[in-house]
Amino acid sequence: MSEVLTEDYYRKLEELQQLDFVLVELTLYLDTHPNDMQALQQFNKTAQQRQQAAYNFEMEYGPLLQYGHSYSRYPWQWSQTPWPWQV
């Protein structure tokens, strides 16, 4: 893990945050609008985008989640810096 976090790191992280927020909004919306076809398609499209963005981020900067929800390179990356609150 490079000690200095690059601009790209923060940009990718923010993009992930944006996708996550859209997914949260759409989830809450779809809870009350189950038969809104367009929103459902948008939800699935955004979910796919989010998986792709997370995959790219993890390939480059290490695991985002733990307990098997993310892969890790050798040596074990989870316990290395930076921790989420240090980013």
């Binding site: 944006q18 996708l19 927020f21 859209v22 909004e25 919306y29 009350t32 609008h33």
Partner: protein, 76 residues
């Protein structure tokens, strides 16, 4: 700071009030008070704007600016 969501009212100020009077008090009535059931296919923000503004739909946006920067209307 006239904004269609911010409303104000003038509390009664008595001669024996212990503290300095607040002449005008404001409160926010966000748009979701007027929409009983959200219609389908409303226009949406881009993901970047949505994250920044806190909602995906412009029609539900309420800016709720902070009052700490001295924006409280105190004079009559």
């Amino acid at each position: 700071m006239e904004d269609n969501q911010v409303r104000e009212w003038h509390p009664f100020i008595g001669p024996f009030d212990p503290c300095p009077p607040v002449r005008v008090k404001t409160y926010v009535v966000p748009p979701n008070q007027f929409i009983t059931f959200q219609p389908m296919n409303l226009p949406q923000f881009s993901p970047a704007e949505a994250l920044r503004l806190g909602t995906l739909w412009p029609s539900l946006y309420s800016n709720y600016t902070s009052k700490r920067r001295g924006e409280v209307v105190t004079d009559e």
